[in-house]
């Protein structure tokens, strides 16, 4: 796959190094030649480009026309928005990923700015901390399809109505599916006959509008 990464800070360089190791062709753009030069190009698959990713010409030179993915990961949210919009509007890049630096800006990182996936570190950290401390509540780990669906996690409390029941016996709503159960550090591949225990971590893929029904089935009414 051809991937363009705009922003050669520690995030962009790390992404370029990792993704190139997996065999992808990377173009790394930054205004600073020094930042681009610092990337470790062991695989020889990273092409550095000094220029402003917010300019159409730079993106054209980077080959945005046939790129599969563009990742706008500069430390500046305004730049990330401009890069994303240009990628979608001028080059029709199929997958646009953008980094949110300031969580207050997250509301803008959506399809209106050409963004398919936004990644906000503060948001992610909050979700992970919530996941670590919350037993018996539904935590959204990941949004998919522009937030229409999501991966949810619940650690079953002792008094959960799901404890002792097989998955087929749970009144799970349509448009939701149990994708994995994590028990004592092992991944249990769920079948309809898998019986849930207290302290199981249950991962459920579901659309947003069935979350309250999911809560009823796995947590119960409080």
């Amino acid at each position: 796959m051809k991937i363009i990464i705009a922003g050669a800070g520690s995030v962009g360089r790390y992404m370029a190094e990792q993704l190139s190791k997996f065999g992808h062709d990377i173009v790394l753009i930054d205004t600073s030649a020094k930042a681009v030069g610092r990337v470790d190009n062991q695989s020889g698959k990273i092409v550095g480009l000094v220029g402003d990713g917010c300019e159409v010409n730079t993106l054209a030179n980077a080959g945005a026309k046939d790129a599969d993915v563009i990742a706008a990961v500069t430390g500046d949210d305004e730049d990330n928005l401009v890069i994303s919009l240009l990628a979608k509007q001028e080059f029709g890049v199929p997958r646009v990923v953008a980094r949110v630096n300031n969580p207050n800006n997250e509301w803008m990182f959506n399809e209106m700015w050409g963004i398919d996936v936004s990644v906000s570190t503060p948001h992610l950290l909050t979700a992970l901390v919530e996941e670590a401390v919350a037993v018996g509540s539904l935590v959204k780990l990941l949004s998919l399809e522009h937030g229409k669906a999501g991966l949810n996690e619940v650690t079953l409390a002792d008094n959960s109505p799901a404890v002792g029941k097989a998955i087929s016996e749970l009144a799970l709503p349509r448009e939701s599916t149990v994708v994995a159960v994590i028990r004592d550090g092992h991944v249990v591949v769920p079948t309809p006959d898998t019986v849930l225990h207290a302290a199981d971590e249950v991962l459920i893929l579901a659309t947003g509008d069935v979350e309250s029904e999911l809560g009823n089935a796995l947590i119960g009414n409080k």
Binding site: D66, G92, N110, E111, M112, G114
Partner: protein
């Protein structure tokens, strides 16, 4: 008063060269000529977006303009030409913020 009245209305042209919608390439700068067959103003997570379906004899495509609810001159049945880079969004040719030209 200053002879501006005429130029204030959008310039209209008779014809523009375009490709038919069914043959339009993806991810290349393209011009499409067609009629507005549907208009929709939808708030994308609270932000306005104008979604317009444009059809010719061969098919339909979608143009979206972000950050606005309406474009005064674009009305149902209007013939327009749009120029932009089209992509496939759920199988439908879609243009984001294309340039547009009003046709007679």
């Amino acid at each position: 008063m200053f002879g501006r009245k005429k130029s204030a209305s959008a310039p209209e042209v008779q014809s523009v060269d375009g490709v038919s919608i069914s043959e339009a390439p993806r991810r290349e700068r393209t011009t499409i000529v067609g009629k507005v067959i549907r208009m929709q103003s939808k708030p994308a997570q609270g932000l306005p977006t104008m979604v317009v379906s444009i059809g010719d004899d061969t098919g339909t495509c979608i143009a979206t303009w972000t950050g606005r609810r309406t474009i005064g001159a674009i009305t149902l049945g209007r013939r327009i030409a749009i120029t932009g880079v089209g992509t496939d969004a759920s199988g439908i040719l879609t243009f984001v913020n294309p340039e547009y030209q009003l046709l007679v």
